[in-house]
Amino acid sequence: MSEWWTYRLTSFLLFSPRTYYRLLELYNLAIWPAQLAGMAIGLAIVALLIGQRGDRDCIIAGLLSVCWLWVAWAFHYQRYAQINWAATWFAAAFAFQALLLVVVGVVTGRFVLQPASAGKLWIATSIVAISVLGYPLLAPLAGRPWTTAETFGVAADPTAIASVAVLGLVRGRIRWFLLPVPLLWCAIAAATLWAMNAPEVLVVVAAGLLALWPAVSRTRHDASETMR
């Protein structure tokens, strides 16, 4: 793209905020009550993070994979692509993330959740819980109807934020193979909300950064372990 420096973030926004939220509304109405299933999956992940089940990690990877695949197909490909031609690429990226979670978490068994500290586990679990229970509240708090609420497991933003929090707990370098797509989506979501002048942008940025913290501090922890 020539003269790229002359473009602003809003130059890439293809739709109005009204159209975007109407799309969310129609999507929510079309998939109801899948939102309840998404929330149930999210709460199950919270319970698994707190609990000590031996097969916890494999189940969490599988549940996250289901959510990413659903969002890829039902949201990005079938809905969002109507108003944003880039959404077919988003769908491919989300499907790839689902595949990655299955391969790493279910097939190879390299998806090992090992928080560097109880504090990091608490932060990650809290972010997942907030993504599940708190994110849908943003719609009414921003003055929009409930029908435009974004729910974990079926909407892209809360699914990506919660995933960053969980994947930050994964032991070893493999987490840096699992994190790029969720992080990239957080950045795209924040840019979109910023261009739409939506107040939710602050929540996405803050939650994304907070969710990333366990992953970054985990890296420092791993490095110091190696030094010893």
Binding site: S2, T6, L14, S16, T19, R22, L23, I83, N84, W85
Partner: protein, 298 residues
């Protein structure tokens, strides 16, 4: 001080709002053929990208119906605008407007060899037999696309060929193409605060006999939001303006090189307001200078 710019304009459709005082919509000829186009058209960037939402599609149809009933003809879109082409096609068919509009679309693909294929996809979305005008969007791969478009024009698959840019980008390239290629239209950004094209491109268009379509007349609404803080000057009544939107549009289309401006909207009230700027008196050069000063003060 004022000029009656309606002189020589061809009568098209009369809007309901002016039935009590029948007047012809202002038109400008396309230099390459003399075909007259109403000076206010309809853009579709963002506004018509509503996906498959039935209510929003019907609202867009109402906008198009009111636009045509008010005398408008030029509707502009692009494959870049996501669902806008589908929505235009839906509206044209539902309101039976297909034969009454001047269909202006674009080719926007980085592979020159796929240009024809994309234009055909766009044509099916619009549900028209052929496009009146196809433009190379933002000069993307124009070296490949222009020969294709000119060949399609030669065989009657489209009527006019053009190029586009926006917000002042690549004006040197635009000039070069205007000087060297047999194009009918150029599309640029122009309004009372974005006037760079007055220096070279608009005079060049007159010299070369190229029609000019003006995009982003309201800076995507930002200009009108800024102007709304100030009252419309009382002297705006001299050119029959009752709103800042009409004020800005009359400024744009009063430039002798401009063929039409293409404001976009989702509102029936706004499309009627915009199209009404294509009626009545236009400012002369002295008044245009006052208009610039008024906008810059606001």
């Amino acid at each position: 001080m004022l000029t009656l710019a309606a002189a020589g304009a061809c009568a098209a459709f009369r809007p309901a709002t002016v039935l009590a005082q029948p007047r012809a919509i202002l038109t400008r000829p396309i230099p390459s053929t003399g075909e007259a186009l109403p000076v206010v058209g309809l853009g579709s960037w963002i506004t018509f990208n509503v996906g498959d939402d039935p209510a929003a599609r019907d609202a867009c149809t109402d906008v198009m119906r009111n636009f045509v009933e008010a005398g408008g003809r030029v509707i502009d879109s692009s494959p870049m605008y996501a669902s806008s082409q589908d929505v235009i096609g839906y509206g044209l068919r539902k309101a039976a407007l297909t034969g009454r509009v001047f269909s202006a679309d674009k080719v926007w693909i980085s592979s020159g060899s796929r240009g024809r294929e994309q234009i055909e996809q766009s044509r099916r979305k619009w549900q028209v037999n052929r496009f009146d005008l196809v433009q190379v969007h933002n000069l993307l791969d124009w070296q490949e696309h222009l020969p294709t478009l000119l060949a399609m024009k030669a065989t009657g698959q489209l009527r006019y060929v053009g190029i586009t840019t926006s917000e002042g980008r690549r004006h040197r390239d635009i000039e070069q193409i205007m000087r060297s290629q047999a194009i009918d239209f150029v599309q640029v950004t122009y309004n009372p605060v974005d006037r760079e094209v007055e220096e070279r491109i608009l005079p060049l268009a007159r010299d070369r006999g190229i029609a000019v379509i003006v995009n982003r007349p309201f800076r995507q609404g930002a200009l009108l939001r800024a102007l709304a803080r100030q009252p419309l000057p009382a002297w705006a009544a001299e050119i029959e303006c009752t709103s800042w939107a009409q004020f800005v549009l009359k400024f744009i289309v009063s430039h002798p090189a401009v063929t039409c401006a293409i404001p976009a909207t989702t509102s029936v009230a706004h499309v009627r307001e915009n199209t009404s700027a294509a009626y009545g008196r236009l400012p002369d050069e002295a008044l245009r200078q006052r208009m610039i000063a008024a906008v810059e003060r606001a």
